[in-house]
Symmetry: C2
Subunit: 470 residues, 2 copies
């Protein structure tokens, strides 16, 4: 936890942004989430909005902020002797309220009555338990309190959602320091991964070593580790293959630090330690796209335009390889890059690795005058906004050869004659390449987060992989 | 997955045990469980009953078994192109049904109609999502479909619960082989822990190394690792202390193998590498209790009686140390051992580390003619049944000095004058000791699971800790 003044100031700012609204803002912390039976739970993880406004890293807390009077109340129950035997001496609710700077406390059972007859501003719930609880408290169906992905949650309070996004989107200096520290752990974890890539080892062994580091020095991984020789599968969580020399290994992984700030990096390694010339061509293009995006990242630039510039550069290089043919501007406009990069250039990052995604992707990542594209690729862009100092975004271009998708475009003629399908067939066993850094938008431009950048230039990667073997 | 015949045979046996019942048995697999926002989930873990009867290790499956006709139907939806881009080519529902030996498949949306007007036998739900889903399908409140701990769930089908318990309680040879393998991984993980205990290291660093091994070679840990110098706190999940020479480190941890069978071992180490004489006295008693329990474990013996024999031996030794005074039988009867060991001797273990705990502790662990004790300690005994070949139980006596509990007994006179509180005060900074093995009940007696037993005798522990430092 930060010092109590941080949380007090954040809630004051929230009140200021909600000025004129009636009723109360309701915040729910998380409860433990069962993995198997009720007493065997997944590792405890607090709700990110709760962490931001209250900091208390314990289950079964809720709070209200009265938007009319400013009165704040923390709802939680103290522990009995049974809890102390099983969990040890715990700080009292009163002590925790003091650490969060909240004046008033009440038992959990008093929450329902406190909401009765009031207008309740709530945030969408991602955890299934909080969906049940919110639904019960507010007389709604559980599916009505859930964020529906891009669109968000219609019944949630848009003023509250907008106020929270406005605050969390621009990172405070203490948050930037925390993300830098998470990135340093991410660097360590990725170094373990790179050193672990040796022919014959099973992918799972390397994943375990990586996640062990994340657990030794942080909360754990900030999302399920992607380590795969099938880089063309974006969220491949199967790790049963032996390392096969000659393939490409995509490693997309991050650490969540003990204070819950995230990092998220991707590197792609030639499993043989050296790229084939075909691999190097594609790798060089992705590398150039990553560098191009970083060079364009500065206040006042829309990240959507950075995505489009990356798409153009990618298509230009793919045209040089005779994989696509035609006018560059037309290909960009028609979304041809989406065949090769069917995801967005990046997303916000902070307490969540996709920061605030549960509040609705469009509200988080799009300015009011921006409309989300329906195109494959650009349509998946999570962060399109005009950049401001304090934004933390990922820069993660990629090129993939996805047989099922290529087949679909070919059948349906989606490319309008621009794709050289005959040549693309040579790439069906290629896999994919993605290269991702975490970037802070500064007053003067941008800075890559973390003390050191993971090796990325093709020569640099080959050299360090040779050294890793020594 | 085992071969399909295994699942067919298990469901046939279930039908046999449910003969005469009307309606359908409903099984719900798990869905992914969000850690943060909906797309950032905890590591996928299937429901254990689902694994046992269907084996399919994928989310969003349900099934019905018609108890009148024997007809089986698998409910799930096939994947589209978007899923294939993000998750890769997936087997079809039809292919998965074949692997589970189920003849009929239907989309998820057809489940509600299939249940309409039928008597539905269901198992209690632990996952919050399945609580919502079951409640909706059956027209109940979510809290009505949850297991209420010891008592189980009143609305769930007792015939189905009893049939499942009857089957899962007695392990098949293939399950025993799986548990042996999980125990071998547990041995490796505990060896890493023991070697990691060196003054000055932070507990969390050791936990990360342990969990890394569990993830490298298995699904992960079978429950949140307990590694603490506050052994008197049973479920201490804080790992922020540096290793402090002179204390005792309780390490209670297990691996869940990739096939989801669990192991669960506890060892307690002197952080200095050698026991003090006070530590050795208590350790020796716990060690003797562990050995005594194993020596008594055989078919026909009630595990409740093994717990009581352990309590008697413990009190005898504590009396020799002048920590308690009085008649042994009377102390056992009055539950005085509960002050020192306020938990039970052991629990069943299998696909769940506390096997089937979500089905209701009393139904799982108690024979029909056994009544659960209200006493502290014995009342927490999860496995009291008369042992049968194929039972897998833990043998985990412990002695703890819990200041809050001792204070309560002293204030309330719970001990009836048997406890020497003056002397006990010397032990307030002692912590606790627990020693746990996993044991299979065999035709002729019992066998400790895993190829090798973790070092446990006091001299053996000191010797190996000296060798670890070399």
């Amino acid at each position: 936890m930060f010092e109590r003044e941080v949380y007090i100031a954040r809630r004051q700012e929230l009140l200021r942004r909600m000025a004129g609204e009636k009723g109360v803002a309701l915040f729910l912390g998380n409860v433990e989430s069962p993995a198997q039976y009720g007493d065997n739970c997944y590792k405890w993880r607090q709700d990110s909005n709760w962490i931001y406004f209250f900091g208390i890293d314990e289950p079964r807390f809720a709070a209200t902020v009265d938007l009319e009077t400013g009165e704040e109340t923390l709802y939680a129950d103290d522990f009995g002797i049974d809890d102390i035997i099983w969990m040890g001496p715990m700080p009292s609710v009163r002590e925790l309220a003091d650490r969060a700077g909240v004046a008033k406390t009440a038992p959990c059972g008093a929450l329902a009555a406190a909401l009765k007859g009031r207008q309740v501003h709530f945030l969408p719930a991602s955890r299934h338990y909080n969906q049940m609880l919110l639904a019960k408290l507010l007389g709604l169906a559980p599916e009505e309190v859930v964020s529906a992905g891009k669109a968000g949650c219609a019944k949630a309070s848009e003023p509250l959602v907008r106020a929270v996004i406005g605050m969390r989107l621009v990172k405070e200096p203490r948050e930037i320091a925390a993300i830098d520290a998470a990135c340093d752990l991410g660097y360590e974890m990725h170094t373990i991964a790179r050193r672990g890539i040796r022919p014959g080892r099973i992918e799972q062994e390397i994943v375990g070593e990586m996640e062990g580091l994340a657990l030794s020095k942080g909360w754990g991984v900030s999302f399920a580790t992607i380590l795969t020789q099938h880089g063309e599968i974006f969220h491949c969580h199967s790790h049963e293959l032996p390392v096969d020399p000659g393939r490409l290994m995509v490693v997309d992984a991050g650490v969540e630090a003990n204070d819950h700030y995230a990092s998220d990096f991707t590197r792609t390694y030639p499993t043989a330690g050296r790229f084939t010339s075909r691999q190097r061509d594609i790798y060089q293009t992705v590398y150039e796209c990553n560098e191009l995006a970083f060079s364009m990242t500065r206040p006042g630039v829309a990240y959507r335009d950075v995505h489009l510039a990356v798409a153009a550069h990618m298509l230009e290089n793919l045209r040089d390889l005779d994989l696509v043919r035609g006018d560059l501007d037309g290909m960009v406009e028609d979304g041809i890059a989406g065949l090769f990069m069917p995801h967005g250039l990046g997303h916000n990052m902070g307490l969540d690795v996709h920061d605030m995604e549960d509040l609705g992707e469009n509200l988080v990542g799009y300015d009011d005058d921006q409309v989300r594209s329906p195109q494959l690729g650009l349509g998946s862009l999570r962060m399109a906004r005009v950049l401001q100092p304090g934004h933390v975004v990922t820069d993660e271009p990629g090129i993939y050869f996805i047989p099922a998708l290529i087949g679909q475009w070919k059948r349906e003629g989606t490319d309008g004659g621009r794709v050289n399908y005959a040549k693309l067939e040579d790439y069906y066993d290629f896999g994919g390449i993605r290269l991702e850094d975490d970037v802070l938008v500064t007053e003067g431009g941008a800075r890559r987060l973390g003390r050191r950048r993971l090796p990325i230039a093709p020569d640099e990667v080959e050299t360090i992989m040779q050294n890793d073997q020594l």
